[in-house]
């Protein structure tokens, strides 16, 4: 089973550690990590081997939404982008979804259980990224449901 390469983007080292710790607790896949401390750093570290992105919003130099938009604009339509952020107003959620092209939105502080509910559907039974797109409506439904459960 090949490892899932996750790029964790947050200006807080503590929060990057928290994301990694939560993912390691999930047992839905085996992860290896690349870390970046802001959107610019993440753009430099992003490559075709990255399978999934965990992105904070409020960072210096380039925000998480700007970084996510840049990834989508490069043509990476399928890679899951999970916003992990303290921003929680519905206007911000909408912006992350529509402007940033994020797939999911997890509010801080989070637990492994909250992380699991948000990202499990992106993995198959073999711990690999699930292939096959979902309808936009389903994505939005899941997106808002993870907010409401937070």
């Amino acid at each position: 089973m090949s490892k899932i390469k996750a790029l964790v983007v947050d200006d807080s080292k503590i929060m990057r550690s928290q994301v990694k710790r939560a993912l390691d607790q999930l047992m839905i896949a085996e992860f290896e990590y690349e870390e970046a401390m802001d959107g610019e750093d993440a753009l430099e570290k992003f490559n075709d081997d990255i399978d999934i992105l965990f992105v904070d919003w409020n960072m210096p130099k380039m925000t998480g939404v700007e970084f996510s938009r840049a990834i989508r604009d490069k043509g990476y339509d399928k890679i899951p982008i999970i916003m992990v952020t303290a921003e929680k107003s519905m206007g911000k959620v909408d912006k992350a979804l529509n402007e940033g092209g994020a797939n999911e939105y997890i509010t801080k502080p989070f637990t492994a259980d909250k992380m699991s509910k948000a990202i499990s559907r992106y993995f198959d039974d073999n711990g690999q990224i699930a292939t096959g797109g979902e309808e936009e409506g389903d994505e939005k439904k899941s997106f808002f449901s993870s907010i409401l459960k937070s």
Binding site: D11, S12, K13, I14, M15, S17, Q18, N58, M59, P60, T85, A86, E87, K88, S89, G91, K92, T107, K108, P109
Partner: protein, 166 residues
Amino acid sequence: MITEELKKADHIPAKVTEVVRESVINTFASICGEAPEFVDDPEVGSRPLNGIIGNIAVFNPELTFSLMMALPKDTALKISDAFLGMELPFDSDDMGDLIGEIANILAGEVAANIEKVGFRGQSSLPTATRGSDLTLFMPNKPPTEKMLFNSPCGQFMLNMAMSESK
């Protein structure tokens, strides 16, 4: 428009104070496991702090709410244990990182809740200040509100100031 109303105010309106108080309670309940209690103490803020302060602002082009979250050393240590499952050394860079992140979480909650009373703003990046005999004061005397809380992680204070954005 509440922003116009706030710009003319010589004190922070009760509806804003209540929203911020509720946001503090929600934030620390999610970290410490139980909701903190607001303490009505007229002497709040008059005693020097030995601990750490997380600073952040919720702002729009017209108005800025500065939030200063003041945590005594023991409270900061307990919060690190509650948040991370281990106590961080008080003097470490990681402690500053953590308290900044908690200020960020609080500002996210404040920004979301304050929208309900008509103020739409965004969060700044957080900073943290550690020291002993720290005194919170406002040189230009903008409208301020000081709040004291007792939580399962210990006592802490929030100082909020309202000023025009520059």
